[in-house]
Amino acid sequence: MNEWVGFKGTKWQKDIDVEDFIVNNYQEYLEDDSFLTGISKKTSKVWNKCKKLLAKEAISGVLDVETFIMSGIDNFEVGYIDRSNEVIVGLQTDAPLKRIVNPYGGYRMVKKSLDAYGFHLEKELEESFKEFRKTHNDGVFDAYTDEIKKARHNHLITGLPDAYGRGRIIGDYRRLALYGADFLIDEKKKDLSKLTEITDVSTIQLREDVKEQIKALELIKKMCSRYGFDVSRPAANAKEAIQWTYFAYLAAIKQNNGAATSIGRNTTFFDIYIERDIASGILTEEEAQELIDQFVIKLRLVRHLRTPEYNELFAGDPTWVTESIGGMLDNEKSLVTKTSYRMLNSLNNIGESAEPNLTVLWSKKLPDNFKKFASKMSIKTHTLQFENDDLMRPIYGNDYAISCCVSALKLGYQTQFFGARINFVKVLLYALNGGRDEITGDLVIEGIDELEGEYLDIDEVLKQFDKVLKKTVKIYVDALNIIHYMHDKYAYESSQMAFLNTNLEYLMAFGLAGISIVTDSFSAMQFGHVRVKRDDRGLTNAFDVEFDYPRYGNNDDRVDAVAKNLVKRVYRELKKHPLYKNAVPTLSLLTITSNVVYGKHTGATPDGRKSGVPFSPGANPSQGADKNGALASLSSVAKIPYKDCCQDGVSNTFSIVPNALGNDEEARIDNLVKILDGYFNSGAHHLNVNVLDKDLLIDAMHNPNKYPNLTIRVSGYAVNFNKLTQEQKEEVISRTFHEQV
């Protein structure tokens, strides 16, 4: 094909294989950031318009909603921000920040969101949808067991994607740019022609799915032609490659409202086109940066319609447009290119922002210059997260991307069934309360013995804990199997699946919240002599710990081993159950901002935590428990096993005051590089970095207008500080900020 002139390699030309294309054509970049350019006039004009709209949106929460049309790949008219200055085009609806009504996940959620922000769906549309169409949410609740409903109602299992899009699928959107839609349609047709042994339901389902994917690709062609582009053929230059990739992603977010819809891993892919254009003299460095900046602007405008309650769980209107940057090709050569720098440079040109969720895949062998640049941008903007490429690459190969916050997926070959998390602290409390919820008093888990005695006996507790855990995991698995069956049936993401292989590997992502509290509680029982107090219903409501006990976060093996064993125990339990589509279970320690809500609904705990106090986020030690300095804290978290256990991710959020990191900028950059090297060399998986003075956050809490763009890393994503609820702000401030001694 003409579009491929100058590209090397043959394998990728015959079969869909983006990785092979990259390996054969990319140019590693080892030098520093001095080649980067500033913001272009056009970008500046476009971004200024966006800033005004974003400020308006910040006041009302939602700027506008399209109430006459429902979600779909080609349902909306074209939309622009500032047509003559946009070099990358395409919006979800006909206007920026105007949100889509997506009722397929669940109608109640849509109705609640519209009511909350004062919008109404056009009446006839609403009525006919309700009359003729069943939703994912309806299907799920038809199939849910009483046990699931009870566990859900009592916040034992929360955040289940049973009322909106499940998300976490990453289409390999680069495929549209490299191959064009027609090639992809032909490949899907070939796959379909091979699916002729109709022996079970799964083949019938797959035939229907592939046909849906083909229809989606046809619709994508139509959607793009509205904007004046013919994506039936491959992209012919850098501008088209970025545009095509964005269009493929845009189709996904027009059709679906998945909680986290990540963009993949694009910089090295784009760089091949950019360098080809620069070499042939049709693109300048300024124009290359302009393309990246405008691509990033588009990703910053992604919106979904959510309820205020959703926001309480996941603050700041996040969409997790996660872009993975860097990483290694093999043990010698990195995948760092000039465009890896250009992507991070967008933070200089258009300022810090929570989205896209920029994720640096860190390896000890990454080029030193890139390590320094990434650290510099992290210190400057507190918007980057870092994940251990040396840990993930052996499992997922060199062309994986991060979905949502911390979950790796092999691009094009794997997808994920997202499954929220268990409130792990409640598992422990149910063990102390005969299976009853410590707040509502409901009997949630049956068959658990009542504990007697004034002091907690660790062996007795463990016996009941195991029983509660077994039953909870069973309920959790049942719920996820139902959810993903129904999601496929009523809200299938054909536009994303069209960019994945027909035969996929599935991961089912389970999660735990509250690991530090459960760990410390067991340590308190072992070393601290814990006395229980019960209310008149016989439920635990306070605990006295009589002696000091080792706490998770101090690099003390006596207690860190407890955390390790707990997650292994959970994963062992998960593996016992058959999963929908033969998915492989994975486990995460990740809470996002929901750690605050979890805490609110959870009673007092044996570690001395009072009722209602927030959990620490992800795998972080409990607030204030880590007393031996930052490295001790990091080392405890690094002991949580990733491989064959927490392969959905172990999230850690690290806050340090600038003066403690070093006396000047250069020292801070060097030291952050060393911390990241050390942390990841010791086998850790993920780190959010905030280099900030606590006083600055306190000031921002009292004077939000002074800091309109202040962005910080929370568990797994970045958020505009002003968009956090008051409780979330207080929790962030209460975290351990490592200071100079």
């Binding site: 031996n628 300095g629 490295l631 070093g662 030291n671 060393k674 090297d677 942390y679 010791s682 100079q740």
Partner: protein, 239 residues
């Protein structure tokens, strides 16, 4: 079985980024012979603490952080005054060197057992030397002690060819003037192998600790040192 020496520790800070090159595990040892006016760690003055550990326990703890410190960081013994427990310190320094770690002591150059001083310096890669004052009278006022021990330390240090970082705390109305800095500049010429000279601005954050320990805080009327001014003086010192 080997019998390891044990000693008194105040605490261990696992991530020190300003006490020596790279990332340092900082071992704060207990006990100090000096009573400096500006001291913000009075809880380390007493010779004993509740935290008694063997040299092996300390070094095992330090070694846990090898991935962070082995490349261009290391271990720093601070205090209190690390030299006060000379033999104990020496054993730990030897063990750290055996483990291939860069070693540093952050010292006032006092409180040592003369007999072991040469050897201590032999197993030390970097000495961070706290200058308290540059003459006998000033030294006595600042620390409550005579300067003779410090002078002897410098003599031995000069023979050792050890690398040295110089530090001094700058206190308003005591030594925050150019005249003093120029004298200091001249004074430290007699110390060999100086790699770095730092001035630390005095702060009053230790005051709460004095209240808790029921000790008298002698700089009660002194304000915190202006950081910018201190920086300017540091530039003068380094010119």
């Amino acid at each position: 079985m080997n019998k390891f020496k044990s000693g008194y520790i105040h605490s261990i800070e696992t991530m020190g980024l300003v006490d020596g090159p790279g990332i340092r595990v900082v071992v704060f040892m207990q006990g100090c012979p000096l009573r400096c006016l500006f001291c913000h760690n009075p809880e380390t003055w007493n010779k004993k603490s509740n935290n008694k550990m063997t040299s092996k326990e300390i070094v095992d703890e330090v070694r846990k952080y090898r991935p962070y410190i082995e490349k261009d960081g290391g271990v720093t013994f601070s205090g209190g005054e690390p030299l006060l427990q000379t033999e104990y310190l020496l054993e730990m320094l030897k063990m750290c060197k055996d483990a291939g770690l860069h070693t540093c002591i952050d010292t006032s150059g006092t409180g040592y057992n003369k007999e072991y001083l040469d050897e201590v310096l032999k197993y030390t890669d970097l000495v961070i030397l706290d200058i308290k004052a540059i003459d006998d009278i000033g030294y006595k006022e600042m620390t409550g002690k005579e300067m003779i021990e410090f002078n002897y330390f410098v003599e031995i240090l000069n023979k050792s060819n050890n690398k040295v970082w110089i530090r001094q705390v700058i206190i308003p109305n005591i030594n925050d003037n150019e005249e003093y800095i120029l004298k200091l500049k001249k004074y430290i010429k007699k110390i060999k192998n100086i790699e770095k000279k730092e001035l630390l601005p005095y702060h009053s954050m230790g005051i709460e600790k004095y209240k808790k320990l029921k000790l008298k805080y002698r700089l009660i009327d002194t304000l915190d040192m202006d950081k910018e001014k201190c920086k300017k003086l540091e530039e003068l010192l380094n010119k």
